[in-house]
Symmetry: C2
Subunit: 439 residues, 2 copies
Amino acid sequence: MKTINVGLIGFGTVGSGLAEVLLSQQERLLQRSGLTVRLARVADIMISELPARFADTELTNDAEGMINDPDIDIIVELIGGIQPAKTFVMDAIAAGKHVVTANKALLSQEGKEIFAAAAAKGVEVGFEASVGGGIPVIKSLKEGLVANKILSIMGIMNGTANYILTRMTDEGIAFADVLKDAQELGFAEADPTYDIEGIDTAHKLAILMTMAYGMNITHDEIATEGISQIEPMDIEFAREFGCRIKLLAISRNHDDNVEARVHPTMVPESHLLSSINGAYNAIHFTGDTVGNVLLYGPGAGKLPTGSAVAADVVDIARDIAAGSVGRVPSLSYLPGEIRDIAITPMEKLSCPWYFRISAKDEPGVLAAIAGILSRHGISIESVIQKGRQQSGPVSIVISTHTAQESSVLAALTEIDALEVVSLPTVKIRMLDETASFED
Amino acid sequence: MKTINVGLIGFGTVGSGLAEVLLSQQERLLQRSGLTVRLARVADIMISELPARFADTELTNDAEGMINDPDIDIIVELIGGIQPAKTFVMDAIAAGKHVVTANKALLSQEGKEIFAAAAAKGVEVGFEASVGGGIPVIKSLKEGLVANKILSIMGIMNGTANYILTRMTDEGIAFADVLKDAQELGFAEADPTYDIEGIDTAHKLAILMTMAYGMNITHDEIATEGISQIEPMDIEFAREFGCRIKLLAISRNHDDNVEARVHPTMVPESHLLSSINGAYNAIHFTGDTVGNVLLYGPGAGKLPTGSAVAADVVDIARDIAAGSVGRVPSLSYLPGEIRDIAITPMEKLSCPWYFRISAKDEPGVLAAIAGILSRHGISIESVIQKGRQQSGPVSIVISTHTAQESSVLAALTEIDALEVVSLPTVKIRMLDETASFED
């Protein structure tokens, strides 16, 4: 019976979650793998002792010493952020250690260097927990869907943003109020920028695209728009169009170029992604052989994330025991098969649109707006003009048929320059199911 | 570059789907595994030649000859049914061949013998396509959720039954009419018994339970009830209770005993399983560390099933190439760890209930019914008594709080014996989210 020794860097929420999972599941993992997966050591400079139940685990403040200890087989990095996480990961690889990390910021920014170093050294890098929390999305993409050309990726990949949108939808309250409440309840961080502005979602989409298409991409190549500008009335109008607003990551594969974008999206209620509520995540793949697959589960949290990290640890432990390290390439394609693919320019994208125009309540306004849209080749699907208010601008809400982004931007520039239009027009993309390879 | 030679038995819908997938994905599989996965030979006695694009594949009518050919590495059995499929699978194992099959009837009935033979011979048996079509559910359960005690399994695992229920729900038409239409459209077989009576779903639940809990179980140990008795008015009443009727497989883990049942279930609209429509499947697991995970996708079909079979083939090919055969136990637990666990007797189960009682429209009827329920400790949640009809019995529809099955059976026996009750009472179990470990 072989023992695999794990060294963990970072005993915060996720790190302590992994420790709990490895402890509570040790017997089960032995029954399922024939291996004892042991949390041998924890490196953390913020704590002075581990809870008594981790009596078999040593605490150290010397991460580098642990990285270089020949008794440690796998280094798990769970401190997050770019530095010193990157140094620890690169040093672990240099020391010939397999690495498991949940660090999506690090992988989406520095992944190319990290995976190249790991391939050169012949060690594995596991990162199941970096996307979709406890959902086995990385393994499904790498192995379960191996016999597929991935045609599209769509997902709700940030639990905080989805929690906020869900409460705005259910309770009709403003973004800022839900955010404040979420922060008090611990569902949102003190600085929520990464979550609400779509940056965290872009990190995750970059990781999925790398594996789905076998391409080089960093998160800053992804057009990213957050949810902080969404107002309760947009959610209400969405409902009138039979849609819910979700922060989606979307990528479509056009072979010689691929779309990559994160933005609030009006999702038809008939689409399963519209039913993903609260802090849950869901990732939807369309493959050329499998068709549509959706994977749903907790996008974050101590034990769910611990479950995903532990799955990576067991995967690597099995490879160590079987002598099959490198059996599945870390990025799903062999290192030599990963290539550069162009990102589709946003202005070339087409989808149906939602516009909310704030205009004076005067005769001829709608005619002027419709005229501008028409001149730009944008076809109106429906118009909602809400009952006149006592004073101030009225909302003219328009849904369009599929229109190219460049035309929309040009038309809205003209519309917003009209004297009767008092605020910049709110525009939200609608999910185009046809274009997303739905059947 | 290593070549793995696959021998396929059965070139029907799924078999030809696998052939298409291996052909269209050959280059991609090479890029992802470094291996050439080649469909070397097809054994089928019903066809005289293969389509021209399979020029690299030989056709034979001698399955046994192929099984015993030392050049063949993996035998894929896609003929379905118990015999001769079992003989081919056992002979392939005896010949030291790895086996991939989509045959849920075979595995849920003869699995113990097959897996024991495979373990003794040191060969792998892949069966991803046996549950959930193209959804990577087997791999997720075995590997992605390895660090979980599975607390419950719930799923929509038969596309035909779900297609029929979806159309009954959307269009308000009777079961028999939808079935006839589905047969004409090719969505249901000429003999649909396995699909509509829940037997196919029970096959799949038995396979999932074996892996989830590490237990011996055959499908005939699972209490199974189909959808042929569901009437449009039950679907309509379900809607009034905020529910949809789905054919669910349900298992809950009580440690020393486990529930195992397949039956029509009223699923609250707030639960994601209520939103799974058409021929799609979805499997929902609750794990003690991950929480709730749901996997959704096509439950059947030529290419989706081919995608899942191909994933198994690649998995085994990787193990052959890496010398790591047996790296993950076929049934997720090591053979020696699979034990007998008692099935919870149905009469001990508790859930909320839906009753539709057909009674004469007379004073005192509801009082008599309520009295009987009360004497059996069954607490009424709500009653719907539809407007009086011209003649004939009226429907008294009752939803209850959680009640034990044995009490319900005793109470309904008394109710159905009342002189004013004209037809046997229709009873449908409601999904008890608390009891199903939902959060």
